[in-house]
């Protein structure tokens, strides 16, 4: 059976256009006929205040009052009351607000609670920028869905935005989470702390860090050499280094976790006792009622599955006679495994679709 994605015929096209018009009329009615019929973003607003303190040096810590550590902490920090921190005189507290997105339904409940006088609930306010964000998210979600009808410019825009944002995100992420702290931070920590990353940890061995960073720096340049018109072979050395270290790292864990531990897990009794009985069972007190029927079946299936699938992948003997039949059983086990993996994949994809629908219905249309 072949399922097609034909260009719509005139009758078919009329039907699809009717469905889309019906959808648009529904959206317009929802938007204009219902109160809060379309997306409104809300934020929870929290007031934050910090005061500057000095960490009180313990006796014997040295008379380093000039180097005393300064911190910004909440005015309610218990260490101020206990005397571990001392407020710095003459420095005004700093206050600001932190906003975080709240779903419309929760926002409505929180606003009702505050209106009723419950001041333990955080303040909630409409947010223009988050409303805009919801609309953009809905526009892009529907743009991706529109491909299901046919390829179109709206889909292309959504797809291009996704690819562009992803590429930029990964590039920036690699720069700030790998190059800045691990390479530049080791080569020039003072400069990095001054211009890029004030929270860069202070190393106890900056000299050895510097020389340890020079090695990957050189390897990195060698790797990029393949882009040069000549001397592409230079990049083979860092590639060899990467393959060698990765293989070494994976070899040990692979043998321990995937070969030895899995082999041990397969060597299990074919007759499984109920957990309560297995602790007290002896040869003389054994009774058939102590056997876990489904546990034993599972154990047998597991062992038969492992042996038959291994036989299927054993190519030193021709798959004929007993070997062929065992391999055939192995094929069945493999097919069932692929079927179950496919079923789980379908479940995952439906969940993703459900989550996007929940977003459209709840956050955007406010009908969920």
């Amino acid at each position: 059976m072949s399922v097609t994605m034909n260009t719509p015929t005139s009758g078919n096209r009329l039907l699809w256009i009717s469905l889309m018009v019906f959808g648009m009329v529904g959206l317009s009615l929802n938007a204009f006929a219902r109160k809060d019929g379309m997306a409104h973003g809300y934020v929870e607003v929290k007031e934050v205040e910090r005061v500057q303190v000095t960490v009180v040096q313990s006796a014997g810590a040295g008379a380093a009052s000039a180097d005393a550590e300064l911190k910004w902490v909440a005015p309610t920090d218990p260490k101020i009351a206990s005397g571990e921190y001392t407020r710095v005189a003459g420095v005004a507290p700093r206050a600001w607000t932190v906003e975080s997105l709240v779903p419309a339904k929760e926002a409505a409940m929180m606003m009702t609670a505050r209106d009723a006088g419950d001041l333990t609930v955080e303040r909630v306010e409409p947010s223009a920028i988050n409303t805009f964000g919801i609309w953009i998210a809905a526009f892009l979600t529907l743009g991706i869905f529109s491909f299901l009808y046919r390829d179109n410019p709206w889909y292309k825009v959504a797809e291009s935005v996704l690819i562009g944002v992803s590429a930029a995100y990964w590039m920036i992420n690699a720069f700030w989470s790998t190059l800045v702290p691990n390479l530049f931070g080791a080569l020039a920590p003072t400069l990095v702390r001054a211009v890029a990353s004030p929270d860069l940890p202070v190393s106890s061995s900056p000299n050895s860090d510097f020389w340890l960073a020079v090695v990957p720096l050189i390897l990195g340049f060698m790797l990029l050499w393949r882009l040069a018109p000549k001397g592409g072979w230079i990049s083979i050395w860092p590639i060899a280094f990467i393959i060698g270290t990765t293989a070494g790292l994976k070899l040990v864990s692979g043998i321990e976790a995937d070969l030895m531990a899995q082999a041990v897990a397969t060597m299990q009794p074919l007759v499984v006792l109920n957990p309560a009985d297995s602790a007290t069972a002896t040869a003389s007190s054994f009774s058939f009622s102590a056997i876990s029927f489904w546990g034993s079946i599972g154990s047998v299936v597991s062992v038969v599955g492992v042996l038959s699938v291994l036989t299927y992948f054993f190519f030193s003997l021709e798959h004929k006679g007993a070997v062929g039949k065992t391999a055939r059983v192995g094929v069945w086990f493999l097919m069932i495994t692929f079927g179950s993996a496919f079923g789980l994949t379908v479940m995952g994809r439906i969940t993703l679709l459900a989550q996007r629908f929940e977003f459209l219905f709840t956050d955007w249309l406010n009908i969920g």
């Binding site: 469905l19 790292l249 439906i350």
Partner: protein, 309 residues
């Protein structure tokens, strides 16, 4: 008599050609009708809030019991190894796992091997930990270590020297100054490690590098996406003591957690998994129906070809 018989034959033939026509029509069905069917099968149960009671399976129970059996106040490490693309499946597990650990009074250390895992952990801290457990104090009851690049290398190094991998927490505080992390420098000093995993690096790497290094030191549990779980099933129950399988596992685990530790408000945050099982059921029924129908149509087409010969 002859006329009646002829009329019956004719009626049967019309009926049979009607069914054949329908089945033949299926073979050239525009796939957009199937997309529309799936959209309705998922969308309508969401609007109707169709939710089904869950019967927790052995893997969800094993995960629940693993967290129950360690002493209250234990130090647990939760790794958020996923990003928003898998949030639909994994966020319900994360919410329930954090609520469960906090309800048991465990001290929680959050970390992420995926860059956006840190933001999702922050969201979980805000939506679950601060909402349902306001008594939890940062630094004393929980710590957010944040994301660290390096994939399995991060796990490998943490088995011997956490402070080398994470000298600071996500807010910049030195780990040595944080009460919860005082004297902790190895993964084996945690009672339980939980990973919520969408792929590489994730649960498989935790089994290989953390559990492989010290198999008896801590309990390892995982929550996984449906796509990845067939790689993890062989590890259960020896190397992974508990395993939550996709949204179904999340729904079962939510059921166990909220039955024992109910919350007074915002219950919806601990019902996301169960809420998504209604659309699952209807969509799966549709998929099964379509597979059966497709096969019937194929067999009918083969029969018709055989008859024509």
């Amino acid at each position: 008599m002859t006329n009646t018989s002829h009329s019956n034959h004719s009626s049967n033939a019309t009926q049979s050609s009607g069914i054949r026509g329908f089945l033949a029509g299926l073979s050239s069905l525009d796939r957009r009708w199937i997309f529309l069917g799936v959209a309705l099968a998922v969308g309508i149960p969401i609007l109707l809030k169709l939710s089904l009671p869950e019967v927790p399976g052995p893997m969800a129970r094993a995960t629940f019991n693993a967290i129950e059996k360690i002493p209250s106040g234990s130090r647990v490490l939760l790794a958020f190894d996923y990003d928003p693309a898998s949030q639909g499946e994994l966020q319900p597990m994360a919410n329930a796992l954090v609520h469960h650990c906090a309800s048991r009074g465990h001290n929680i250390v959050f970390m992420a091997l995926w860059p956006l895992g840190k933001q999702l952990a922050d969201k979980t801290i805000k939506d679950v930990l601060k909402e349902f457990h306001p008594e939890y104090v940062e630094g004393t009851n929980y710590v957010q270590l944040g994301f660290k690049t390096g994939n399995e290398g991060v796990i490998k190094l943490m088995t011997t020297a956490i402070t080398e991998q994470y000298p600071n927490d996500a807010s910049g505080a030195a780990l040595t100054d944080i009460p919860l992390m005082s004297g902790v420098n190895k993964l084996s000093e945690f009672k339980l490690i939980g990973t919520i995993s969408a792929g590489y690096p994730g649960a498989k790497e935790w089994v290989q590098y953390a559990d492989g290094a010290s198999p008896e030191a801590f309990t390892l549990v995982a929550g996984s996406t449906g796509v990845q779980v067939s790689q993890l099933l062989p590890y259960y129950p020896k190397q992974l003591e508990g395993l939550l399988v996709a949204v179904k596992g999340a729904a079962e685990y939510e059921m166990l957690v909220t039955e024992k530790y109910p919350v007074a408000r915002h219950q919806g945050r601990l019902e996301e998994g169960r809420r998504r099982m209604g659309p699952q059921l209807v969509a799966h029924l549709l998929v099964i129906g379509l597979i059966v129908l497709g096969n019937v149509a194929m067999i009918a087409a083969r029969g018709a070809k055989g008859g024509a010969r």
